[in-house]
Symmetry: none
Subunit: 216 residues, 4 copies
DNA sequence: AATGAATGAGCCTTCATTCAT
DNA sequence: GATGAATGAAGGCTCATTCAT
């Protein structure tokens, strides 16, 4: 019974993600979520206080899990370069595998509605701190010059976010993950991350670099 | 009389920007726009087909002008570095001076409503092409290595966009323009823009470079 | 146009009185009021803040007028007996001529809903004070012994109210006004109004007095 | 088991009285009754056909017992005066000791909902007959002049009812029972019950009094 | 052109009632 | 008998849009 409850909560959440992605939060009637989830309209209100709460839960449930998983992956890295790779790869892979969620995240969650904003800011701030932590670590390790953490974070998150939006908007998009390498190149340039390797680099430098990054 | 027509159109547009920024597009009744503009509700429908059209016009009118002006500024530049500076500076200055418009752009325009998306894509694409053009030019001039234009543009636009969103969301934000220099640093690094100077540079090149950028 | 507005307000009020009387406040959908008034559902919300407000306005508009009129009639009386007659006669006549309003007043206005109660208490208190004023005057004129004002008012209002409720509930009711004289007898007895005069009275005094009041 | 059934029925009834008194019948969800009674929502439907039935049962159970008890007390009285005292005292004491029930009786039972009205009328009519019986007895015993039974009953019940409503509505009410004596005074006056005067009364006194009432 | 009263479709939410466990 | 999750009908209210003036 508990399992069934859990299952219904998840089904409604999943249905809402797809419904919001298709119609947009404000244009999506609760009845649409209900029919997608295969439950009665009133049932939704047994699991969520109101429609707004459904949107908030989407973000907290899914983004929370995403960030937790990313934090774990980051803890296994030893260089800033590897950490950046984790971020880019995780971001793109996750969004690509959760297209509807990506749509909702990119578009619908940018609401000026204060209550929604507030609820979203939690997980988002965590993500921001994760990114800023990686940069700060890079600075501490002297892999990265002293730069403005906030601006650097804005660049990294903004770039990933924009790439995702582009992909979401495009009718026949290239895969998101195909952008991982070029995006990493840009980030490493922006953070002046190449220098340490320059000295050692020979003709095959680029190849080795990619090998090294491949298993991250 | 034509001027008056023009005036009323403008007044409604301005009112709508502020109203949408304050309440959000879907939560903003047409009556709110009307009262802010000092016209009757029905009058709005003399100048705009419907509410959706008002939102679309906001983007086309204001972003159009913004892009036209930026294109002109870009034509006066001779180096990629200078062009990047124009983009960052124009973007941040414009948004900072048009906070309500920035809010609408950052938040409200990110709707999945297909008709709205389509109408917005026009001006946005133009902006994208502008940015990609600058990068392409850099590549042509051999100031920038061959990189994926789309990804680079996503980085540049995404970074600017995210910085703006941050600023819009913040209660007591730093000025946007204070981010111009650090953001340019990042972009130049990402695009490997330092190289052209290398030949002329001595040992302390990097220091001077940073000094030079600092007071701009 | 103003007149039309006024007219529509009245039409909705009248429709609501009948609709509430027929179905009861809580069982009466706003759509029922609308159709009775011959307006669209939304129109009601141009004239009333919400459904509750319609009920409140019924009481304030109609009871207010009723009390004002009664106060005027009372000012023309010179004896307590005459004043009691005005009260009973006005109450019964008014209710009889406004059956639906009477139903709403007797039944629907007895709501424990605090907001409604509060709004109703205004006019009701005024009515109570009117009655208590009449009794107090009788005491001052030594027509009535010193008695508890509140209890006496409860008796008078309660009796009138209950008679009205009875009439409202009955399928084939006697006329309300047929109860005027016997009710007055009871009130006069309760307030010991006959005795003091007996001594001073001439033979035909009582007859004349009643003749005088009869056509009021 | 029968006792348990009985117990649960009573618990639900008691819970409903308090719930209805607090929230009002229509604003009170069945779930509120259930939680107050400490049973599941569905359980209520094992003991009552529906929500309406709960309200009806409240009146029939409680008012039935009240009337039965009053009838017994009345049978012990020998004078009309004593009987009136029983009525007033029983009514006020009972309501005072059952405040929630009083609230429900005064306010919530005055619904125009026809089914509810019908069911309530049973016990109420019994009460009315009790009162009218007392008056008739008084007339038979020549303690009371010939008066309209219905009107007299309306006065007595209406007065008690209104006093109770007043008490229920008041924030810091005087006790109800403090009104017993003054109310009795009024009733005795209304019914010309003044024993003390019997001795002094002349032969024609009663006749004149009735003449006065005759034309009503 | 300008108005703003009127419209009515549509949506969120509640809650009495049912029924599988 | 008892439960309480699930249902879905129903209703108050909003608001984009129209149109008579």
């Amino acid at each position: 019974m508990e399992a069934q409850r859990e299952g219904k909560f998840e089904r409604i959440l999943e249905a809402a993600i797809n419904a919001f992605a298709e119609l947009g939060y404000y244009q999506c009637p609760v009845s649409k979520i209900a029919s997608l989830a295969g439950v009665a309209e009133g049932t939704i209100y047994l699991y969520f206080k109101n429609k707004e709460e459904v949107l908030i839960q989407i973000f907290q449930e899914r983004m929370g899990a995403f960030i937790t998983s990313m934090r774990h992956d980051l803890s296994l890295c030893e260089t800033t370069s590897a950490r950046l790779r984790v971020i880019v790869q995780a971001h793109f892979s996750y969004m690509e595998q959760n297209r509807s969620l990506a749509i909702v995240s990119q578009l619908e969650l940018r609401q000026s509605n204060p209550r929604i904003r507030l609820a979203i800011n939690g997980p988002l701030l965590e993500y921001f701190q994760l990114i800023e932590g990686v940069i700060q670590q890079g600075i501490n390790l002297e892999e990265v010059p002293k730069i403005d953490l906030r601006i650097a974070r804005q660049m990294i998150f903004g770039s990933l976010d924009e790439a995702t939006t582009d992909w979401v908007m495009a009718r026949n998009p290239r895969t998101l993950v195909s952008g991982i390498e070029p995006m990493l190149e840009l980030f490493e340039g922006a953070l002046r991350l190449n220098k340490p390797n320059d000295i050692r680099r020979g003709a095959d430098e680029q190849k080795r670099e990619e090998d090294g990054n491949a298993d991250s």
